[in-house]
């Protein structure tokens, strides 16, 4: 039935999309933890493809691989967070651009050209229901005018 095959293609495409979005996030974000989140997303995409192939070939090898990927992801998370913690202690911020001196020798440094303005929303004060009696309105005064 081509339903099943279509499902396999769909799962592979979804896995590829997750992987691609992970690559985009990994390469372009500056917050160390978001970079790591994107790496984990790449692993999710790969896991999805592996499970799809495992189902297609009716073989548990793919699922076993994904169990191993989950294990590796957990270990990687622990170690990466430990390293990020040390970097945060040394530099005081989670910005990875502060560690640019570790780049290759012939690369130019990255400098922030323009930092977008932080939009400060004026605080919205809560509107309280008015308590007490309504003031007496002179009805005749308000009804003769076209607008108040």
């Amino acid at each position: 039935m081509e339903n099943e095959l279509a499902l396999l293609n769909n799962y592979l495409v979804v896995g590829a999309m997750l992987f691609g979005i992970g690559v985009i996030g990994f390469v372009s974000r500056r917050n160390m933890i978001i970079i790591f989140l994107a790496a984990e997303m790449m692993l999710q995409g790969v896991s999805l493809s592996l499970v799809a192939w495992a189902r297609y070939h009716n073989d548990f090898g793919g699922q076993m691989f994904v169990v191993f990927i989950i294990t590796v992801a957990a270990c990687e998370a622990a170690l990466a967070l430990a390293l990020i913690l040390m970097l945060f202690r040394a530099s005081g911020s989670l910005d990875i651009a502060l560690w640019q001196h570790l780049r290759e020798a012939n690369q130019p440094a990255y400098v922030d050209e323009e930092i977008p303005e932080l939009e400060v929303k004026s605080p919205t004060w809560p509107r309280l229901v008015p308590a007490g009696r309504q003031p007496e309105l002179d009805r005749s005064d308000t009804e003769h005018r076209p607008s108040v």
Binding site: L5, L7, L8, L18, L37, F68, V72, A82, M86
Partner: protein, 246 residues
Amino acid sequence: MPTIVSIVLGALGMWLLLPRPSLRGRLAGAALAAAAAGLLAGQLPGLAAALDQALFSILAAVTVASAAAAVSLKNPVYCAIWFAMTVLGTAGLFLLQGAQFLAVATIVVYAGAIVVTFLFVLMLAEPGARAAYDRLSWEAMLSAVGGAMLIGVLSTVVGGLLAGGPAGAAAARGEAELAAGVLQDGHVAALGRAMFTDYWIAVQAGGLLLLAALVGAAAIVSGGRSPAAPEADPRPPEDQPPAEEH
């Protein structure tokens, strides 16, 4: 028989819904009409496959949308939460393919432990969305174009969108085995059997890896403090002798 029941319920529901002198029973009418529509839709022949596709479409859309949100929002806590949503979507997709154990294992490990640890670190270390480095990204245009091209290449080559790709050529294989239901019995038993007979080396290696990561993470975070630090006075400060003037 269900068709007759659905027709009766549908008539009753529509009668209650249509404008009448008294407005009572609108809610009951809506509920009855929905139930009738559901019953009638259950009589459609191709519904099982259509439901499967619909469920897959919803889950896939949620997963991809959450992934896109997770890498593009300014507030990193929101990014982590949308990543947790992505993980839930992926777990749902695993469940839809019959990998129940992987689905719940993904939720337990990823959404329940890894993302929670991320959230701890983010909440304790982040100044919200006010940091400059969260509002900027490196080479946004290049990375987006490159990532999109990567997705396209992967989809066409691996996904077989082109005719004659590797997945397309294997259409003749018997897919009767795949018709096994999503919640087949004995899945965990079969997976466990495979795990401890064919792949037991991987299981042992995984255990060793976890041990190494545990020791390594503890060593990295507590490293730097020399073990020969002099023991400070354990008495509470008010009991200690007063510090001498320097």
